[in-house]
Amino acid sequence: MSAMPRAIRSGTPVPRAIRSSTLLRSLLLVVVAGLVLLVISDQLSAYRDLQLATGAYYFCVLAGLTVLAGSSGQISLGHGALMAVGAYTVGKLANAGWAIVPELAAATAATLIIGVPLGVAASRLRGPYLAGATLAFAVGLPALADRFPTFLGGENGLTINPPTPPASLGATFPLERWEAWIACAGALIVLFVFYNLGRSGVGRALRAVRDDEISASLGGLRIGRWQTLAFSLSAAAAGLGGGLLAVVTQTIAPGAFPLQLSLSLLAGVVIGGLGSLMGAMWGAILLVFLPNWTTDAANSFSLSSNVSHNLPLAVYGVVLIGAMLLWPSGIQGALRAIRRRAVAAFGTGEGRTPARTRADGEAMGTAEAPSGTPSAAEPSPEAGAQAPSER
């Protein structure tokens, strides 16, 4: 149930066309967001513009990742590596003389295509198996740079020229603002695509698969196909994010894509709430600002370099653990609603007991897959940060 129709129904004078069409609604959203970002970027210093750009390309990856996890229940640790694929694509093409838009499009296309066989494989894997496989992917792929040092630049990687702002913007137009515009454009495209995806039949199909695979397949959905689609789209978003990273930082080296990156992406997605595009925004903010905050904290508390260096990672770990222990219903909020419905249907003395005893030593066996009607909360920008507010 999306919040927006309710708000609109409560009397705001919005034209009927916009109310009823997701496409128009999302276009409006994107235009408004774009204008806001435009205005903001003008007010910001060069440094802050750079942060805006960074946040934008993180948003691309996180949006894809959150849609994957929240909509179809798949956890991927390989999106850092997919970012690397997008970044290296842009790197090679830029050095071959391609322009910005074509090279970014190529990066997105490359990861979309790679995402298909990966998605096929991923769709056949259950939770921990998928996590393990993507973990291996994340650790293994950057090593390819060492294997093909001449082509991929080895440990030092590739460098590309910064994107030059077009002459029409004036000679003194700051580079960082231009980079922010490019990155935000990419982010808005990603937002547009996933917003529409969430509201469409595709989105419904994905959620049906997430909630109850068996029912979904009995209902005629070809599960593998939808999960592959979800994976490829999220891979494409990650590739775009990686391509934007290349444009913004102009260096593409294996050291920029360690396993830690994939873990921080996971933390960013978890803290925002799986499946929530708004949450992806919060996650992006976390990823951009956390390193700065921890460095500042380290300086003000005179922490050793070992501590300050590892502090962001420690925070990510605490976020992941804390989210699972303290706000499990926040993450699984939608699933909880389904469970309630399952309890309502519970009537007999069957083996499964929804009510749990809290006695010490309680460990009642394996987890039951939540089952029920596939109509859980959709990924929506209005859903907000689900993690802190729900219990």
């Binding site: 496989a133 699972m324 499990p328 939540p370």
Partner: protein, 292 residues
């Protein structure tokens, strides 16, 4: 030809390490149906502690014992405090939780001991055996490694099959609710399962430390290989874990020898995908699907 023999012998000794890690993962999977992605980080942590003991002047034996003991404690604490709440939750939660623990342990290790990898002594000589004029790529330390891992596997098998404690642990793993109805303190059995798994992992950490060096991320490939080995053998099968470890050790040794060590993690991934596509329950899966 000597290269092939060398790679084979090397594969056996690395395979023993993978087998130990796989055993740890299988123990935890059987008891709590969770893949402990933090296993590599946990054994990294206990190896760091052992390294600290040696730096402080302790003997190798003492460091070894401390590693095992701290592994036991770490495993028990992790299960009781962090894992217990998600044992009945959807699998996604446990995956994220163990990944979070992995992240946290790596960060804390870096904070305490720094990110520069340090060396770790071996129990026995690292000079290869001399056979008829050539030096093999197999050392007395490798023999020690293989023997210790086999001994541990045998001890665990004895524990589970022949003791009442093992009977309780198996009952708690196969049918926790029924076990509770028979007076088995299932919670304690699960904690013990994690503790024993962590000890096995700690053992692997100390054994492999001389060759990978001790650093927060140096044991990541071991975790991945251990996971792949466990999947090869079947997550439900302890003997499968040992054999899976050996098979994987050999396979990756050949890849490393003929294609270069950079490709090893990707080779492990490829093997993983092949196994999961062809025989997802592993080579030694129990024919009977476990009642969930």
């Amino acid at each position: 030809m000597t290269k092939f023999i060398d790679l084979t012998l090397n594969g056996i000794s690395t395979g023993a390490i993978y087998a130990a890690v796989a055993l740890a993962l299988v123990l935890i999977w059987r008891s709590t149906r969770i893949v402990n992605f933090a296993q590599g980080a946990m054994l990294m942590f206990t190896t760091f502690i052992a390294s600290g003991v040696i730096d402080g002047g302790g003997s190798y034996v003492l460091a070894f014992a401390v590693a095992l003991a701290s592994g036991f404690v770490l495993g028990a604490v992790v299960e009781r405090v962090l894992v217990r709440p998600v044992e009945n939750a959807p699998q996604l939660n446990a995956v994220i939780l163990t990944l979070g623990l992995y992240t946290l342990l790596v960060a804390v290790a870096g904070m305490i001991w720094g990110n520069t990898p340090r060396s770790f002594p071996a129990a026995f000589s690292l000079r290869g055996y001399r056979v008829g004029g050539t030096t093999l790529l197999f050392t007395p330390n490798d023999t020690f490694t293989v023997l210790v891992v086999l001994a541990v596997a045998a001890l665990l098998a004895l524990l589970f099959r022949r003791t009442t404690l093992g009977l309780r642990m198996r009952a708690a793993a196969f049918a926790p609710e029924v076990a509770r109805l028979l007076g088995v303190r299932v919670g304690r059995m699960l904690t013990l399962g994690w503790a024993l798994a962590a000890v096995t992992g700690a053992l692997a950490g100390v054994l492999v430390a001389p060759s990978v060096f001790v650093g927060p991320n140096n044991f990541d490939p071991i975790l991945i290989s251990g996971f792949v080995a466990a999947v090869i053998g079947g997550l439900d099968s302890p003997p499968g874990a040992v054999i899976g470890g050996l098979v994987l050790g050999l396979a990756l040794s050949y890849v490393s020898g003929y294609e270069g060590s950079a490709l090893v993690p990707l080779a492990a991934l490829v093997i993983l995908m092949i196994v999961l596509m062809i025989r997802p329950t592993g080579l030694f899966a129990a024919t009977r699907e476990r009642r969930v």
